[in-house]
Point group: C2
Chain length 133, copies 2
């Protein structure tokens, strides 16, 4: 655990953040002024590989990062993305039903297509209240 790595973790530590690598870089730069962008990318990839951070894309071709769900359903959520302004809402509603569907789907797809399912993506896109008019 080195200073740059600590700075990256720190940048992501606020809950509900969905930062791009550039944004992580800016925040991390405050704590570690001469950190390099490449190091940020390398660290984010490392953390993602360890399962501590999850990486996703909302359609603007910039990867976004957030702390991974703390083991299981507890913090499980999905994203609702505004196509207008890019706003991202974390929602946990319907998680029960979703988990049920996911369980069924993973089992069924596994059996039918022989895949060993590792992960999934569920995202909704639409217009937020401000962008609707």
């Amino acid at each position: 655990m080195t200073p740059p790595r600590h700075a990256v973790l720190d940048a992501l530590s606020e809950r509900g953040e969905h930062l791009t690598a550039e944004e992580v870089f800016k925040k991390a730069s405050r704590r570690c002024p001469n950190i390099g962008l490449a190091t940020v990318y390398r660290t984010l990839e490392l953390l993602t590989g360890l399962g501590l951070v999850s990486k996703f894309d909302t359609g603007d071709d910039k990867a976004r990062y957030e702390f991974a769900d703390p083991a299981g359903e507890k913090g499980h959520h999905h994203h609702l993305v505004c196509s207008g302004c890019g706003k991202i809402v974390d929602y946990k509603d319907f998680i029960g039903e979703e988990m049920e569907l996911l369980r069924k789907a993973e089992q069924g797809l596994s059996k039918k297509y022989g895949f060993k399912i590792k992960s999934h993506i569920i995202q909704f896109f639409g217009l937020c209240p401000a962008c609707r008019r």
Copy 2:
């Protein structure tokens, strides 16, 4: 409707295809030998905007294109992606349950967060039979 555009449509016409822009370009080049890659991108964007084609990403940072669902549930499907070799399986299983969940979710999210839902993504990732071992 110009020759290059026709060539792009033609390239996508085979069912079950999930082509990258580069692949569409190669296929389209057969029918229209001096088509340019930029035109392919422009045409794909046009068709996507018209709702005739849908664009998605399986995680390799290359956009993929396929004919859009013909109105509603009829051809509705989702993707099962192999993280090993990139293979993409279209599946329609659990579509009933998924539609039910989607309907509920769209209504609920709309009410709770004020979003007007336009679309969604559901994808599963895992290892295909060949990549499992």
